[in-house]
Symmetry: C2
Subunit: 383 residues, 2 copies
């Protein structure tokens, strides 16, 4: 069971420590993490409900959490606070009201004398403008400073959900492989994966599914024509996809090949696997930084001659969002702790040439990194 | 052809008028509308690249548009500015740099003496904080004030893309109807629709697809169990979905019924159609406000005895985003103009009872509203 009451208690102790009297969170991953309101799939372009810029959770030091919601669609929030005693009744914003006045009423409920306000880092500029207007004397800071460290360490209940999110990916991969015959397009396979993720119980995708065919010999740049170019012998196929299951994310990568792979491609695959294994082996709790784990994997691929073609960081934290701190990257010197979860996803991507990538979600333990996924990392074969 | 150079020229004239020296836009619909950088599907939880809070388009009065991009993934932006002479070369933010310093360099390129800065309304709080730090004396305002009025009036080229986005929805509906047999779940049908939208050429969904089974007699509240409850005779089925095609949105609604509909359900369907027709008939350019169009449809449903069950606004503007001003709602007194496009989507939704909705995208003309979609609004029948 996810223990929201305990998380809120921890947060409030941290707020007190940082002299924060109010935290404003938009509906999303942080609000889910702290209060259990499920974060839903994004509106892909924009959503606009009356007063939506004033909508979110207002968390004080002692008061119940106040959730504001638009009238239209507000029943979702009303149904979700049921059975969650840490909430006050939802404050619905009606079209007959000025949303700024509603925000003023809500904000006035909190004692902000000598205290700061923390805002969701990704709250809208529009929302910041309104809060500054209402609280001209108040100092603002970003909410992630308090919440991100809490989210980094996963409980067993969280890991169980993340494992299940991974199993769904594995199931979708098997279905995609079954469909992966000469003549299909990458677009077809992406759609198949999305369909299977939903059918197997995912809440929604954690990011847009990416299936790439690459083949330097016949067709450079074909990644731009996903819907047209059909699978041919000699193509490499890279899969990168993930889903959300009961609020927790997966992120998953495997590689396949159509026909007989060239010897050099087999060497690329071995290098990628070796880099992943080297990093996982080294990811022992309290013994290594995020940047060091990145460097270990990178050095394997550099020695193999593909340094420039490993063009991204080794991985990223993952939990209620698919990408979250810490980062397995040169810029992040966080020490890895037991219970942290990261993607470990080395790749070799030759511009206009072959791509190869393998990606697992990995749990940091005292003995090293352990994959949450059971799927074989072999080079899958087609045709 | 979408004329981006002309749009930028119009914007800059408006910026000059409002004494704005710089507009900052995050990658998204506004940046696409003004400069042609395609807006992509959202990361469904969070995306985080190094320096991403400094990433976006910086538009001045005379300079070329400066686009900043994260190094990792930046090749997308580099490829997209090609062939667009209104851009300067992309400014990539490397992991070896402080993103705040990059932002400082970029901002220093613009003459802001005596001028204001306009920010994307949905830019992140993090980004606002950085801009305020760099420009402590500068007055900020929301970018939508300038861009939203431009986006309201659609050109023929835009309408063509919106028609095509609607045709894709129609195609997906036909496939969904073919699959809609007794025993399927609403979840299955949602997945089928998403799959078909992709297969038929949509860039991505414009919002999460919503298929609801409703049946007051046997199973109140079944909308909460989409993945389990199987279609039975006596169920109403409402469809609400849309897609993005080459940057432009559709939003589409139809209703079906499994088995023989009760007489009262047929009356509900007729009322919804009548309300839609009444509003469309009245939506003549320069002769009616958005709120008045809403009131006309509402009065039809109120007279029919279902006022409280028509629980939302009549519709919303639509274009490069699926929901945008003006709003066919009590709060919006904008006069409708030729070339504006709105969803017209009356509904009757009885809590724990039957739902019915029909939705078209409608173009305002001097003769009244004209649907962009050709699909029959009949009550589709199953089983």
């Amino acid at each position: 069971m996810l223990d929201f009451a305990n998380r809120l208690e921890t947060l409030r102790a941290r707020m007190e420590e940082h002299k924060i009297g109010l935290m404003f969170l938009t509906p999303g991953a942080n609000l889910f993490y702290l209060t259990g309101i499920p974060h839903r799939d994004h509106y892909r372009t924009d959503h606009n409900a009356y007063g939506d810029w004033a909508v979110g959770g207002y968390i004080g030091l002692n008061e119940g959490v106040i959730l504001t919601a638009p009238r239209m669609g507000g029943e979702y929030f009303v149904s979700q606070v049921e059975g969650k005693p840490w909430f006050e009744p939802v404050r619905i914003i009606d079209e007959s009201e000025d949303p700024l006045e509603v925000m003023r009423q809500v904000v006035s409920r909190f004692d902000l004398k000598g205290r700061r306000v923390a805002i969701e880092d990704h709250a809208w500029a529009e929302t910041v403008q309104a809060l500054r207007l209402l609280l001209p004397e108040t100092e603002f800071m970003m909410a992630s400073k308090l919440i991100a460290p809490m989210r980094m360490i996963k409980s067993e209940a969280e890991l169980d959900l993340m494992r299940k999110a991974g199993q769904i990916c594995d199931g979708a991969l098997q279905e995609a492989l079954a469909r992966l015959q000469l003549g299909v397009t990458a677009w077809d396979i992406e759609n198949e994966i999305d369909y299977q993720l939903g059918m197997m119980g995912a809440d929604f995708n954690s990011f847009p599914t990416n299936v790439l065919f690459t083949n330097p010999l016949k067709d450079p740049g074909l990644s731009l024509r996903k819907a047209e170019r059909r699978l041919e012998p000699g193509d490499a196929i890279t899969f990168d996809f993930g889903c959300i299951y009961k609020g927790y994310a997966s992120d998953f990568g495997r590689t396949a090949f159509a026909g007989e792979p060239p010897a050099e491609y087999l060497r690329m695959h071995s290098l990628v696997l070796e880099a992943q294994q080297a990093a996982m082996h080294a990811m022992k709790a309290d013994q290594i930084t995020a940047a060091q784990a990145n460097a270990i994997a990178r050095s394997v691929i550099e020695k193999g001659g593909y340094g420039p073609e490993f063009s991204h960081r080794l991985g990223h934290g993952i939990g209620v969002t698919v990408h979250e701190p810490p980062w397995l990257d040169v810029v992040d010197h966080t020490i890895l702790r037991a219970g942290m979860t990261f993607t470990v996803e080395p790749s070799i991507r030759i511009p206009n040439g072959y791509h190869n990538r393998v990606e697992d979600v990995v749990l940091v333990t005292p003995e090293g990194g352990v994959s949450l996924y059971g799927t074989s990392r072999e080079l899958y074969r087609v045709g």
